[in-house]
Symmetry: C2
Subunit: 316 residues, 2 copies
Amino acid sequence: EDEAYFSGYSHFSIHETMLKDKVRTESYRDFMYKNRILFQDKVILDVGCGTGILSMFAAKAGASHVIAVDRSDIIYQAMDIVRENSLSDKITLIKGRLEDIELPVEKVDIIISEWMGYFLLFESMLDTVLYARDKYLSPGGAVYPDKFSIHLAALGDLDYYKKHVIFWEDVYGFRMSCMKGEVIREVLVDVVEQQKIISDSCIIKGWSSSSCQVSELQFSQDFAITVTCTGTLVGLVSWFDIGFETGCPSVVFFSTSPAHTATHWKQTIFLLDKPMEVDKGTVLVGRLTCRKDKKDPRALFITVTLCGKSYSYVLQ
Amino acid sequence: EDEAYFSGYSHFSIHETMLKDKVRTESYRDFMYKNRILFQDKVILDVGCGTGILSMFAAKAGASHVIAVDRSDIIYQAMDIVRENSLSDKITLIKGRLEDIELPVEKVDIIISEWMGYFLLFESMLDTVLYARDKYLSPGGAVYPDKFSIHLAALGDLDYYKKHVIFWEDVYGFRMSCMKGEVIREVLVDVVEQQKIISDSCIIKGWSSSSCQVSELQFSQDFAITVTCTGTLVGLVSWFDIGFETGCPSVVFFSTSPAHTATHWKQTIFLLDKPMEVDKGTVLVGRLTCRKDKKDPRALFITVTLCGKSYSYVLQ
């Protein structure tokens, strides 16, 4: 199954999508170009380098050397790209799973990686970044991005609910109601318009790259959000925020929230099995639990308890 | 790899997309509801039944019995759906590869299947339909759709070319020109606006379900298309047409061409390595060859010779 994961990244189109996501790519670029002092004469490790864009940003920002690792065949393109940009003396590319290979240096000063998946944690690539931190990061070194958090709010979009759930009640004259459960069980990935959010938002959990442990990526967290607009609650919406902060003269931050420019991560949506009328001022109290699938550790099981009822979701 | 293929159809969202493709689903519905005489008291085989929608159309059209086969886990939903619509006495669902299972009848009167993939032949599901025909179809029986053809025209969309090819010449200040070859090598799947077509179109190849042999699905064919509008040729566009014709009192036809309502199959695009100025009236002469990948028989290798130059594409 890991083969399928890595080969998904060998098609060029996913790299085109990621590069063209300006919120993502320009945040990494700005972090490096505006904080050159961090990179000056430093050794950098780029985990999951893809086309090598982050490694090239780091080289241009003044790094003495960049080691870029990727398991996917895209690294053969990255090798050509680095050569095309006359950066072969600055960037060393290594094909392989980071856990399996031996780096040509004992320690690195900075680790950079764009490891985020849907709902931040889908694909579990952060596990590899933390492995790299524990094995290769110098004392006093840093992993960027260094701050990341998952947020939650209430979704009041009855049209969305009709389109994806009620739809199954009459399909060309046939009932397919049993599909409703299947749809609700899957975490949906879609762009949510800000005006469909009918509550304030809360941070479900935040982490810091310096202290984060793999064990903390499975968690259970109480939440409370307040309805800001009387309407029909059809689900919860989640997104994540990313910060490049510690030690940065110029802090860079981006958010994948519905209030910001949409990214290729969109938002993640947890639909309820029934729409629920809610009044302004109501406090929605609940608990969210996130666990990895033991059979497919890149997939996530998410359980939400809301107003005393429990819902199970899968992101796979 | 076959596991990956079938498990791709276990997610509900692909079935939502296919059902919501009205051009597709209503064509099958209209074919069956408007040609009830074909289905009256007949035994039908539905190859790759998915949610069971075609089987239910057939049952409502008067079939005495429908046998529906699918290898994907979606068939468990289809079982629930058939029960929900009180059609369990009319429709028998069987999970498995058609080539591996034994049907509960020796012969069937009609085979229906929605087997079409991108560029018509991607995924090679037609091979299974033809296997079913040769093993199970009664003399005098029919396989629907019974007519299908692949068409080709010239694409004059320089913006599209810039967006997907020229893009790689400057990515945030870096050259990634080597990616251009990768992009061009992959068959692109996208909706093409009709006004971007700058030639007439030709039929590359047409088949009839009654006589078609698996060997004919790999082919080599000369073509000639005439430029209808002076402009910049950046590639070729292909689509397919589908007919329910033989023995039908009411013929049904649909096209996935840019001139018709877009479907989930969109069009397939073969980009050239360099844009080429072409004048109205120019005849573009070439040859298209389509071969299966021996390592992954659901993938296709397509070679196009145009104006004396040869281009290789892969659809995977």
